[in-house]
Amino acid sequence: MPSAAEPVVAASSKTPARSWAGFERWNRKLHFYSGLFLIFFLWLFAFTGLLLNHPAWTFHEHWKNRQETNDERAITAPGTDAVTDLDQARNIMRQLGIEGDILWTTTRTDSSLLEFQVRRPGHFFFIKADWTKGNATVRQADVNLWGIMKVLHVFDGNVADDPRNHRDWALTYLWAYSMDAVAAGLILMVLSSVFMWLRLPQKRWTGAIVLGLGCLCCGLFCLGLRWLF
């Protein structure tokens, strides 16, 4: 079935008209191609956004339902090549077989002690390494599928206003760039949809009213509140 957005081109069109029609066709194709490719990403971010906005809904509780294990493991002091806290933490993680993004939560006071967290969606590791004693205590908390999904919504390795905490795991980069790609894809879809709508003269007025209403509501929050209050 043809779509209302499908351009109709006369066979005898001149080159500029044909390229314009080609652009329209590809604009429309890219709209649903990107939508189909990103559909699961979109559903994840939309659905978890809803869950994050409603922490009082108890069905998606994950932290209270976590499973914890405590472990004490032997370690050796990081080599002299591990100079920074990050190098030393990575060395300890390698010895413990733990992977994830490092989160610094405490200020270091003793050079033979290192306390940090390692996080990846679904798993949280709280590590205290003491190489004068040659051991590390590891508290591991595993959360359910709701927890994994909600962490995926915000998992970018950064902590706001804390330059010490930034991405330091390759897979955090991969996920963060996936978020960028989804955002770029959505922007593309919005722009392509506006273009397709503009090519439908019979729907222009209704569309303009609806789009104007959306812009008004959204603009009120983004810009208007500072003027009103």
Binding site: F32, F37, F40, F47, L50, G122, L152, M189, C218
Partner: protein, 209 residues
């Protein structure tokens, strides 16, 4: 009947999509600011400070916490002409001070109330458009459900944020239907759907295994 259903779905997909498109842009653009810990400063941050004295404070104010504290602070902030969403309040017992963050998208106000002197120092910073987008993106958020949405405007924002999700889900499902109807695009569509599914579950599995 089938044709009517198709046309109705197509029109709803178009009009509802147009309505939420500014919201989708808001959420999408702010993703870059979050992921890269970067906000463009289109205008310089401006801050102004003022002092309000002779405040009428309830005697039990220092004993309150959580929602009762927020509710007690609302009329005080209103009397000082500080509108906005009240955040986590810090109580410094030693200095007998309450530090109250109050936010409006694009504006951050910090109110320090000296409980002994019944005096408040108000610092207001205009944080700009990008910061407004980020504030809206993470509002109401998962933290502090007991105190959040204490300003009627942010309650309204939650309805819009929720509506964006519901409409996005509708638009994505109706979009799948509208694509499926196009026989010529089915094959390439299935390939892309499969590739996207594989990419999503592959990455999600790799980061969370």
């Amino acid at each position: 009947m089938k044709g009517r259903f198709y046309r109705l779905t197509r029109d709803l997909h178009l009009y509802l999509g147009l309505f939420i498109s500014p919201f989708v842009l808001l959420f999408s653009v702010s993703v870059f600011f979050f992921v890269h810990s970067w906000t463009p400063n289109l205008a310089p941050d401006t801050a102004r400070t003022r002092v309000v004295s002779s405040l009428n404070l309830p005697t039990d104010l220092p004993k309150l916490s959580g929602r009762p504290l927020v509710d007690a602070l609302k009329p005080i902030l209103e009397s000082m002409n500080v509108p906005g969403e009240i955040g986590f309040v810090q109580h410094t017992v030693k200095d007998e001070t309450l530090i109250i963050p109050v936010s409006i998208p694009g504006r951050a106000t910090s109110v320090s109330i000296d409980l002994a002197r019944h005096e408040a120092t108000i610092v207001t910073r205009e944080t700009g458009f990008a910061d407004a987008l980020m504030t809206l993106h993470k509002s109401p958020g998962g933290h502090g459900p007991g105190i959040r949405m204490n300003w009627f405007v942010m309650k309204a924002w939650r309805w819009f944020a929720d509506a964006t999700v519901y409409l996005t889900l509708f638009i994505s499902v109706s979009g799948i239907y509208l694509w499926y109807v196009l026989r010529a695009e089915r094959r390439i569509g299935f390939i892309l759907l499969f590739a996207g599914t594989l990419t999503f579950f592959g990455i999600a599995y790799a980061v969370s295994r």
